[in-house]
């Protein structure tokens, strides 16, 4: 008992001492509250204690101190939506590429650019040199009230506004001065405000990025675990000069550079697993490190995607769009869980939750089917992007991917993929009118591309390497997921997988030999048995 009390007392003293050391104010004597997460409390700046009549006015106030920020943003993909792949020479970026979700930005700017890191990109004439149109708040908001609704070309709503016009729905204006006074570091919420909702809704596009990652549990993402390691996106996507590391145009499929260390010059991608964990992270089982010479970490450590309760789109068939009900109105159909699986304006969807990825060799080389590329196999499947990789090129690992399959419009005469004008409250917007040729004529004109007037549909595939939603190690894939017949790596060639692979010849000969031994033994034994019944003399003693 006494000892127990002594321990308790000791613990109490320790606790008191710790709290004394941790709170700085009593020592200083002045109990002024102090922020330790930043050296600048923006709510104290006079420049931000005012009314703002537009979002760009806020940016001007930011730039008064942060003089280089806009220029830094101007250099990034987040601003330009343009990217020249140095390996393939392909001109990529959201500005021009097509996908098999909402298809294309051209002629749909006001809707799509709600996720542009700027204000006012409503048509092709947007001024990319404008500094005040850089949107600081979308990444640095900490209040969660900052929103950029689609249709406003990336502008937030400052005064109560009817959106879309004529709908009777009022979007409340936000207190942008409050947002500006409370700016801070980027967070899962700020990055997620666009990246969780890519493809037009929560979880639609990536499958491994959706709103469940805003405050995930450990099982969903061991790094972002809100009550654990609590990583933000930027913990891995280390940003310098406002340029966020990591890319889907030039991903790092195999990182040979190892960990990033202070003092070492690191030009490699800081967002890879290896940049922290190195290339031989399994301490107990060296065998698993050997696996890592063939497998991306993600292959075992992300057993499934869309695990957070948000479904991702797996298929999107534009060719079924356009149905109307008896009254001529657009139709929406939902599945038993209330998720949309058909919309007149978009076509039919297949959704997936807890999806097992597909697997392929990937070396980081991504090629797109561009707006100018000819579609030669219209009866086959057009790959919106193709992932390069071979088992023997020394650059490839086996990666998990979400393969997004769909059907979308193409021009059977010009043999190119088509860019329809979808969003827009006008005469040609497909989502309003459900007329393909008018919508496509507008879209293609805006993109500066030819259109024959004919519309066909072609099957497409798009490949999304899976890299988020890393599970805790105890939830990583077990051996038997791949080491068996028809396992996860059933279609992946170029490796010998015990349990999946065998030499047919050796097996046939081997079992043949065993059978021969067995039959021979049985035959021999049978003959002994038969001959024993009819003794033919000899030494019976040994018989």
């Amino acid at each position: 008992m006494k000892f127990h009390r002594l321990v308790l007392a000791g613990r109490f003293c320790l606790l008191a001492l710790t709290s004394l050391l941790m709170t700085s104010s009593p020592a200083i004597g002045d109990a002024k509250p102090l922020k330790l997460s930043t050296t600048a409390d923006h709510s104290k700046y006079k420049e931000l204690q005012r009314e703002f009549s537009s979002a760009p006015e806020v940016t001007k106030a930011c730039l008064a101190c942060h003089t280089e920020a806009a220029g830094q943003i101007h250099r990034t993909k987040h601003w330009r939506w343009e990217y020249l792949n140095p390996v393939s020479g392909q001109k990529l970026g959201k500005k021009t590429i097509l996908n098999n979700f909402c298809i294309s930005v051209a002629s749909n700017y006001s809707a799509c650019t709600s996720c542009h890191i700027g204000y006012g990109w409503k048509d092709a004439s947007f001024d990319f040199t404008s500094e005040e149109n850089v949107d600081c708040l979308v990444c640095h908001d900490t209040t969660g009230i900052y929103k950029k609704p689609p249709g406003l070309a990336g502008n937030p709503v400052l005064k109560d506004t009817e959106l879309p016009p004529g709908s009777g729905k009022i979007v409340k204006g936000i207190d942008i001065a409050k947002v500006a006074q409370k700016v801070g570091k980027s967070s899962r919420d700020t990055c997620g405000s666009c990246h969780f909702f890519g493809g037009g809704g929560d979880g639609v596009k990536h499958g491994d990025l959706d709103s469940s990652l805003a405050a995930p549990v450990r099982e969903l993402d061991v790094h972002m675990d809100a009550t654990g390691l609590d990583f933000t996106c930027a913990s891995c996507h280390k940003t310098s000069s406002h340029d966020v590391a990591g890319s889907r145009y030039t991903p790092t499929a195999m990182d040979k550079e190892g960990v990033h260390i202070r003092g070492k010059e690191d030009k490699s991608n800081p967002a890879t697993c290896v940049s922290c964990h190195d290339n031989a992270p399994h301490k107990k089982e060296a065998r698993l490190n050997q696996h890592a010479s063939k497998l991306a970490c993600q292959t075992c450590h992300i057993p499934e995607f869309a695990r957070g309760g948000v479904a991702t789109k797996m298929q999107w068939d534009w060719s079924t769009a356009g149905e109307r009900d008896a009254e001529g109105k657009q139709i929406v159909r939902k599945d038993e869980k209330g998720r949309i699986i058909y919309e007149s304006r978009k076509g039919s969807f297949v959704l997936g939750e807890n999806v097992k990825p597909e697997y392929l060799w990937f070396n980081g080389d991504v090629r797109y089917t561009l707006e100018s590329d000819k579609i030669e196999n219209a009866d086959g499947i057009v790959r919106i992007n193709s992932l390069g990789g071979r088992p023997d090129d020394g650059k490839s690992l086996i990666w998990p991917v979400k393969v997004f399959r769909g059907a979308q419009p193409y021009d059977p005469v010009n043999k190119i993929l088509l860019k329809p004008h979808t969003a827009g409250n006008d005469d040609t917007g497909y989502w309003k009118n459900l007329v393909w040729d008018k919508a496509i004529a507008t879209g293609m004109r805006d993109a500066g591309l030819p259109f024959s007037g004919q519309v066909g549909f072609v099957k497409t595939e798009m490949f999304w390497p899976i890299t988020h939603m890393v599970a805790p190690k105890e939830k990583a894939l077990g051996c038997g997921e791949c080491h068996r017949d028809n396992g996860r790596l059933a279609g992946v060639t170029g490796v010998y997988l015990p349990g999946r692979d065998a030499s047919k010849l050796v097996d046939t000969l081997g079992w043949g030999l065993v059978l021969l031994a067995a039959v021979g033994s049985l035959g021999h034994g049978l003959m002994r048995l038969l001959s024993r019944r009819k003794p033919q003399g000899g030494d019976m003693k040994n018989g």
Partner: protein, 197 residues
């Protein structure tokens, strides 16, 4: 009751039965790893297989020491003496209840066919299994050993070939055990050490 001879010493019997159990278990888990059936599940099968393999290594260290220090290794020196006679016995004489042309003794306990068979297992099947098995066990260290370019397939297939040969030996061995003076006299000998001849 015939003559009795003490053929198998205590350690030898211990070695034989432990090795038999380990090899049986290695075959059982090994063919699961190979994909022939599901029993323990792949992960457990690998763990068991590795454990049994290491146990066999340990056992062999003792067995090797015993064979070398006692001179028992001489029982595996091949000979052609009487080999044709013994072959003829198993292919015809045995069906006519003829006596076995070879009489085992403590100094010469294996008949010439046994000597040849055990030596073949020792010199051909075992090394194939051991070399490929070691490589398999240390797959994680291939890079460090400078074997980064060695594909797994030949190692795995070599190990499988060894396993089939061992299994074929095992099946024949099981049967030939019954061909002593009585059906059970040889197995009794390996249990008690004493063989009736």
């Amino acid at each position: 009751m015939g003559e009795r001879v003490y053929l198998f010493k205590g350690f030898e019997r211990f070695w034989h039965w432990t090795q038999a159990a380990l090899i049986l278990f290695l075959m059982l888990s090994g063919f699961e790893i190979h994909g022939s059936y599901t029993l323990f599940g792949f992960e457990k099968a690998v763990a068991c297989h590795n454990f049994a393999a290491w146990s066999l290594v340990g056992l062999w260290i003792f067995a090797l020491f015993w064979h070398l220090t006692t001179g028992e290794w001489r029982h595996y020196i091949p000979t052609t003496e009487k080999v044709l006679l013994v072959a003829k016995y198993y292919s015809s004489g045995i069906f006519r209840n003829e006596p076995h042309p070879f009489k085992p003794s403590a100094l010469n306990k294996h008949n010439p066919l046994q000597r040849l068979t055990y030596l073949a297992v020792l010199l051909l099947v075992s090394p194939l299994l051991w070399i490929t098995g070691w490589l398999y066990l240390f797959h994680g260290d291939w890079n460090a050993w400078g074997l980064a370019d060695l594909p797994l397939a030949p190692v795995a297939i070599g190990h499988t070939i060894g396993a089939f040969l061992m299994l074929a030996f095992f099946v024949s061995h099981l049967y030939l055990v019954t061909t002593g003076p009585t059906m059970t006299s040889q197995i009794k000998a390996m249990i008690t050490g004493w063989e009736e001849i």
